[in-house]
Amino acid sequence: MLRVLLAAIPIVALTFAVPLVNRVEPRAFGMPLLLWWTVAWVLVTPAFLWTIGRLERRW
């Protein structure tokens, strides 16, 4: 169950949460909110997958 939740979080953040962050402000490094939100979630997805792998005792 925890694994499913961990897998769902980045997917929901990158899809269904988009209407909530479809704004320019607050910006980070000049990037509008929607862009840095998306880039940040893509870059932290490996951390979620790594955690799932740990829970499955794969590494």
């Binding site: 990158l14 988009v18 320019v24 000049g30 880039v39 893509v42 590494w59």
Partner: protein, 478 residues
């Protein structure tokens, strides 16, 4: 030498140098069908990372992101988003598919359907469908290559002959080197593409605006509407965005050439580590958004399909010809490496699933390798012929690829999650999915703002479930 000669010479050195490097990588490999088609199921995490990145990210990924950023802005962010989602799905799906392939000694994507649903007819149908998808998708890569060579030649050459020659050399390379050769070529391709992406997304904004963030400030002043999505069901609005991200993520591992890449892994954990690491590559492509947005400020006014050339035209106008040559060389590899994997996929499904399974031809190892090799050349000539004679048709046929690959997903997932699913149901689901998607896509209809392919996928699942409940399963345990 003129600028065009310098740039084109660099492209030629990059392309043929890569092929020579890759041939060297397979020098001592003895080819049987498993080695030739799926690399002997021996690729480790890094080699597989490079191969998958090599075959997934085509010229139209990297030029297309810049082009969509140039013409519309925020809708281009979807390319970032689906990468993250796709690898989460892949973490679970790819190792499961790999395990079946390893146990049953599968070679092609259609083999998976044939084995799990115990239906030769389904295997052959999927094989023919994948073959029909491969040809226009290879032809698309040739169009990408032609655009690059025209720009590298400063518009002085039509480049049709150069594209044809480069492509035939590539076909001979695949004939010799198989999937392992494609993986070695991907090593060079990824180095060049990453270099080109950093140049495009960092060096160009620094030179013209001082920094990428200064460039974005400028976009905010000049085109503020480009940095957010239109609301709700508007064209390329949030509804379209969410449905497109989901659709692209779901179809991500379903390309005809992705199956053999998954099979080529050494173990399931190799694929899991791979899924964990690939989002980093995808995140990197955000730089192409910077490139496209820089181009809209530096070189405005491009319309239609010309937007895909936006950042290359900036390089052509403002940088020395050797820089243009290196960037175009990276782009040429981004067209040719995926094309090589596609040729192999198209040839192997015909050899194994149509000639072998349906007609009982070439079923021993030696003749199967030979037939696949010959068919690589045949598929290449066919794709070249289609590209030379019917470029308009290529665009229409591509709808079959883009809407078709995702339709294989319900049958793939049901193979693991729903024992009740039957061959007839999976086949009917694919047929209905295509019948819904293609007319809608061809007429650019997006009901309620939703991507038509997503609706087709829902129709596919509904039909598959209904028909499954009305037919008797002939499954073996997957």
């Amino acid at each position: 030498m003129s600028g065009a000669a310098v740039a084109l010479a660099i492209v030629a050195v990059v392309v043929f140098g890569t092929i020579a490097f890759a041939l060297n990588g397979v020098r001592r490999i003895k080819m049987d069908p498993s080695q030739y088609i799926v690399g002997g199921r021996s690729f480790g995490t890094l080699f597989l990372w490079v191969l998958l990145a090599g075959e997934i990210y085509t010229t139209f990924t990297f030029l297309g992101i810049a082009g969509l950023s140039y013409s519309q802005g925020a809708p281009a962010f979807y390319v970032m988003a689906y990468g993250g989602c796709a690898y989460v799905i892949g973490y679970f799906l790819a190792p499961a598919v790999w395990r079946v392939a390893k146990e049953k000694n599968l070679l092609t994507g259609p083999d998976f359907f044939e084995t799990r649903y115990n239906s030769r007819a389904l295997g052959v149908s999927v094989a023919l469908l994948q073959f029909v998808m491969v040809v226009p998708y290879v032809a698309l890569q040739l169009s990408g290559l032609q655009i690059l060579l025209r720009i590298a030649g400063y518009g002085a050459y039509d480049a049709t002959a150069a594209v044809s020659i480069a492509f035939l050399v590539l076909a001979l390379f695949v004939f010799t080197a198989g999937l392992r050769g494609t993986a070695w070529a991907s090593v060079v391709k990824d180095v060049f593409v990453l270099g080109a992406v950093i140049f495009a997304g960092v060096a160009i904004p620094i030179r013209f605006f001082g920094s990428p963030s200064a460039m974005l400030n400028r976009v905010l002043q000049v085109h503020p509407q480009m940095l957010v999505l239109p609301a709700g069901s508007a064209f390329h609005g949030t509804v379209w965005y969410v449905s497109t991200v989901l659709l692209s993520a779901i179809g991500f591992y379903m390309g005809p050439h992705s199956w053999s890449a998954v099979y080529s892994a050494r173990s399931g954990d190799t694929l899991r580590r791979n899924a964990m690491l690939l989002p980093l590559y995808q995140g990197f492509l955000a730089l192409m958004i910077f490139a496209g947005m820089s181009a809209v400020l530096i070189h405005p006014g491009l319309k239609g399909t010309a937007v895909d050339q936006s950042f290359l035209l900036v390089v052509q106008h403002y940088y020395p010809s050797w820089v243009l040559g290196l960037i175009a060389g990276a782009g040429a590899l981004a067209a040719l490496v995926p094309a090589s994997a596609l040729l192999l996929a198209g040839a192997s499904v015909i050899t194994k699933n149509v000639a072998g399974d349906a007609f009982g031809v070439a079923t021993d190892d030696a003749s199967r390798t030979l037939l696949t090799r010959v068919l690589v050349i045949v598929v290449a000539l066919l794709a070249l012929g289609v590209w030379l004679t019917a470029q308009k048709t290529v665009v229409e046929l591509l709808l079959l690829y883009y809407n078709g690959v995702t339709q294989f997903m319900p049958g793939t997932v049901a193979a693991f999650l729903w024992k009740r699913a039957t061959a007839w149901a999976v086949g009917a689901g694919i047929a209905v999915g295509l019948a819904v998607a293609i007319p809608l896509a061809a007429s650019n209809v997006t009901p309620w703002g939703i991507n038509a392919g997503f609706l087709a996928l829902i129709a596919n699942v509904a039909v598959m479930m209904t028909v499954s409940l009305g037919t008797r399963p002939r499954t073996v345990d997957a």
